[in-house]
C-alpha cells in the first residue's frame, strides 16, 4: 500500500519524506471535448514550506490544489501523501486523510452559515472525535483567540467581516492540527488590510508552528513574500524556484 520512502530533492527544501508528492500527474476532464486541467505535474512539498502557486487565470492553479488535497483524482500519474499512494485509497480513507493531514482554506470562506464561529471550528474535531467535548471547545477557543477572534466566537459567519471569516476558515483548517494547509486565493476576496492580516497568519503558521502552507495566489507581491514559487501556464509547471531572503 505505501510506497517505498524516497529521497527527493526539491528546489525549496531537502526532505526525507515529502508530505505531498505528485509524480507525473495529469488530470483530464472527460466530456464531449475533453479538457486538460493540469498535465505532467512533478512536485514534492516537504515539511515547513511556504509555497506559492501562481499563474494566469485558467492556468490550472485551483485544479492542482484540489489534486494535492485529494479533492480530485488524477487521470494518470501518482499522488502520495506522506509516502502513501492515494490511488488505491477508498473514498472513506481519502476523507480521513483530508480530515487529519490536510487543512483547506478557500477563496470564499465556506463556513457553514447555521453554525456559530466556534461550532464551525469544532466541526472537523467533532468529525474526528478524538478530543472530549470540552477539549474541543477549549482548543477551538485557543485557535480563534490566537487569530484575534476571541470576541467573535459565538457569532454567526454572516456577522463577521470578510477578513474575520477568512481567519475563521484558517482556524477551522487547523482544527485537527494537520501538517499541511492548502489555500486557494485565501486573500482573493479581501481588501489590502484584511489581506495582509490573513497573510500574516499564514506566515506565522510556517514560521512559528512549523506548518507547511501551499497557497494559490495571483497577487505577485504576496507570492514574492513566500519561500517558494511554482508557476503554472496552461496546466503545466513552467518554473519552481526557492525565493531567497524571504524570511
Amino acid at each position: 500500500m505505501s510506497a517505498a520512502p524516497q529521497q527527493t530533492q526539491t528546489a525549496g527544501a531537502a526532505v526525507a519524506l515529502p508530505l505531498i508528492e505528485a509524480r507525473n500527474v495529469t488530470r483530464i476532464l472527460s466530456g464531449v471535448v475533453p479538457t486538460t486541467l493540469v498535465h505532467d505535474i512533478d512536485l514534492a512539498v516537504g515539511d515547513n514550506e511556504f509555497v506559492a502557486i501562481t499563474g494566469p487565470s485558467g492556468s490550472g492553479k485551483s485544479s492542482l490544489l484540489y489534486l494535492l488535497g485529494l479533492l480530485d483524482l488524477p487521470t494518470s500519474g501518482e499522488l502520495l501523501i506522506k509516502g502513501h499512494a492515494t490511488a488505491r485509497m477508498d473514498e472513506e480513507e481519502r476523507a480521513f486523510t483530508r480530515l487529519t493531514l490536510l487543512g483547506f482554506v478557500f477563496q470564499f470562506h465556506f463556513l457553514l452559515p447555521e453554525l456559530t464561529v466556534l461550532d464551525n471550528v469544532m466541526l472537523p474535531m467533532r468529525a474526528l472525535a478524538r478530543l472530549s467535548r470540552d477539549g474541543m471547545k477549549s482548543r477551538a477557543a485557543d485557535l480563534l483567540g490566537s487569530l484575534g477572534l476571541g470576541d467573535h466566537m459565538n457569532k454567526r459567519p454572516d456577522q463577521l467581516s470578510g477578513g474575520q471569516r477568512q481567519r475563521v476558515a484558517v482556524a477551522r483548517a487547523l482544527a485537527n492540527e494537520p501538517p499541511v494547509i492548502l489555500a486557494d486565493e485565501p486573500t482573493g476576496s479581501l481588501d489590502s488590510k484584511a489581506s495582509e492580516q490573513v497573510f500574516q497568519v499564514l506566515r506565522d503558521l510556517v514560521d512559528k508552528h512549523g506548518k507547511t502552507v501551499v497557497a494559490v495566489t495571483h497577487d505577485v507581491s504576496l507570492a514574492a513574500r513566500m519561500d517558494r514559487r511554482i508557476e503554472l501556464i496552461d496546466g503545466a509547471i513552467v518554473s519552481d524556484q526557492a525565493l531567497k531572503g524571504s524570511r
Binding site: 484540489y66 478557500f106 447555521e114
Partner: protein
C-alpha cells in the same frame, strides 16, 4: 453521532414552514390511520363480542352434512352412490344426555341441550316467523348470556305459567305484546299452542332480537310433537376463539353437524377481511403521499445545501456522515409527524366517540372504537420507515456529490 444530529437539527430548524408541512403530511397520515384502525377494529370487536356472547360458540344439531354411508358403499369399494339427500325429517339427537356427558368429558367448556322449532307467532293480527327454542333455564347461564339479557323479568319466569314464553324486545315491539299477553304459536306441522309472554330479552344483535323466542324444553317438545326431543346441543367454550377446531372435533366424534360461531357468520367475517384490506390500502396510500412530502423536503434541503455538503466533504467528513445528516432529518420529520399524528389520531377517536349513529346490525348509539397501542405502534412504525426510505435516496445522492464541482462553481 452528536454532530450529525446537530447539523440535521440546524437544517430542519431553519425551515420551520417547509418542514412543518412535511410533518403535517406525516401527521395526517398517522392520525387518520389510527382513527380508521380504531374504528374498524372497534366495530369488528364489538360485533364479534356480541356474536360470541349471544349465540352459542358451537351449535350441534341433529342434521348431518352428508348422507350417511350406504350399505353398498361399505361393502363394495367400487360402489359409489350419489344424489342422496340427507334425511329431511329431524329425529333429534340420539341419547342427548349421554352425548352431552361425552362432550363435557373433554370439551373446555359447557354444553346445554335445547329443542329448536320453527313457528309462527300470532298476536293481534301479526304473523311473524320465529325460532322458538326450548331451553332449561337453570343451565342456560352456563351456555349463553341470555339470563343477563333479560328485561323486566328473569329467565326463571318461564316456570311461572304453563307455556310461558320469553321473546326478543324487537319482536315484542313488532307485535305489540306486553308482559302477560297471550300469543299463539303455530308450526307448519299444524301444532298450535297458546303461550303467555313472561319477559323480554335484548341481545343487541338485531336479527336475534327480532325473531327468537325461548320456552321451556318441555314446551318446545310439545310444539315439535315429539316427547323427549333434543335437536340441538349448544356449547360455550372458555376460549371462543377455539370454536372452529373444537367444532370439527365434535362433528368427527358425534357425526352431527357442528357449527362454530365463525362458520355461522362466515359472510360477516369475510366482510371484515375486505374492510381491513380497504382500510390498509387507504391508510397505506395516505402514508405514501405523506412520504412524498418528506422526499420533497429532503431533496430541497440537499439542493439548497449543496455548497455546505461540498464544504463538509472537503473538510473530510465521510459519505456516511453526510448521508446520515439527511437521513436523520427525514427521521426527525417522521418522528415529529408520528407524535403529532398520535395526538391527532387520539383526538379524532375521541371526537368520533361522541358521534351518535344508527347501526343497522347492532343497536349501539355510539361508534364502537377500539383503543389499542398496537394501532399507534403500527402507524408510527410505517411513518418512520417510509420517512427514512423517502429521505434515503436524496441523502445518498447528496453524500456522493463531488465537492470539487461545487467548489469550482462557487468560487
Amino acid at each position: 453521532m452528536n454532530l450529525i444530529l446537530d447539523i440535521a437539527w440546524t437544517h430542519v430548524r431553519a425551515r420551520v414552514r417547509q418542514t412543518g408541512f412535511a410533518v403535517a403530511g406525516v401527521a395526517t397520515g398517522v392520525g387518520f390511520s389510527i382513527m380508521m384502525a380504531s374504528l374498524m377494529q372497534g366495530s369488528q370487536d364489538d360485533f364479534t363480542s356480541r356474536l360470541v356472547n349471544t349465540l352459542p360458540n358451537i351449535t350441534v344439531s341433529d342434521e348431518r352434512r352428508a348422507p350417511p354411508p350406504q350399505p353398498a358403499e361399505t361393502f363394495y369399494a367400487a360402489a359409489e352412490i350419489h344424489g342422496l339427500t340427507p334425511e329431511a325429517r329431524r329425529r333429534g339427537i340420539k341419547n342427548p344426555l349421554a352425548s352431552m356427558a361425552a362432550l363435557e368429558a373433554w370439551l373446555p367448556g359447557e354444553v346445554g341441550s335445547s329443542v329448536k322449532v320453527q313457528a309462527i307467532i300470532r298476536y293481534a293480527n301479526h304473523d311473524i316467523a320465529t325460532n322458538v327454542i326450548g331451553i332449561d333455564p337453570r343451565r342456560e347461564a352456563k351456555v349463553s348470556d341470555l339470563p343477563k339479557q333479560m328485561r323486566q323479568a328473569t329467565l326463571t319466569a318461564l316456570y311461572r305459567a304453563t307455556n310461558a314464553i320469553v321473546i326478543g324486545d324487537r319482536l315484542s315491539d313488532k307485535i305489540g305484546a306486553r308482559i302477560g299477553a297471550n300469543i299463539t304459536l303455530q308450526t307448519s306441522e299444524g301444532t298450535r299452542i297458546s303461550a303467555q309472554v313472561v319477559g323480554f330479552f335484548h341481545s343487541g344483535v338485531r336479527q336475534i332480537d327480532e325473531s327468537t323466542a325461548y320456552v321451556l324444553t318441555k314446551t318446545g317438545q310439545i310444539l315439535a310433537k315429539q316427547t323427549g326431543l333434543i335437536n340441538e346441543l349448544r356449547v360455550r367454550l372458555r376460549d371462543p376463539m377455539n370454536s372452529r377446531e373444537i367444532a370439527e372435533r365434535v362433528e368427527r366424534d358425534t357425526g352431527y353437524k357442528s357449527v362454530s360461531w365463525q362458520e355461522a357468520n362466515e359472510d360477516l367475517i369475510s366482510t371484515f377481511i375486505i374492510r381491513n384490506i380497504i382500510m390498509y390500502t387507504v391508510v397505506g396510500a395516505i402514508l405514501l403521499v405523506a412520504s412524498f412530502g418528506t422526499y420533497n423536503i429532503i431533496s430541497t434541503i440537499t439542493h439548497e445545501k449543496a455548497r455546505d455538503i461540498a464544504i463538509m466533504k472537503s473538510l473530510g467528513l465521510s459519505e456516511f456522515t453526510v448521508r446520515s445528516i439527511f437521513v436523520i432529518e427525514a427521521l426527525i420529520i417522521g418522528v415529529a409527524g408520528a407524535i403529532v399524528g398520535f395526538v391527532l389520531g387520539y383526538v379524532l377517536c375521541l371526537a368520533l366517540g361522541t358521534v351518535e349513529i344508527k347501526n343497522p346490525f347492532i343497536d349501539s348509539d355510539h361508534l364502537p372504537l377500539a383503543y389499542s397501542y398496537l394501532h399507534y405502534l403500527l402507524a408510527g412504525t410505517v411513518a418512520l420507515v417510509s420517512s427514512v426510505a423517502a429521505g434515503y435516496q436524496p441523502a445518498r445522492k447528496a453524500a456522493r456529490l463531488h465537492p470539487v464541482e461545487i467548489i469550482r462553481g462557487a468560487t
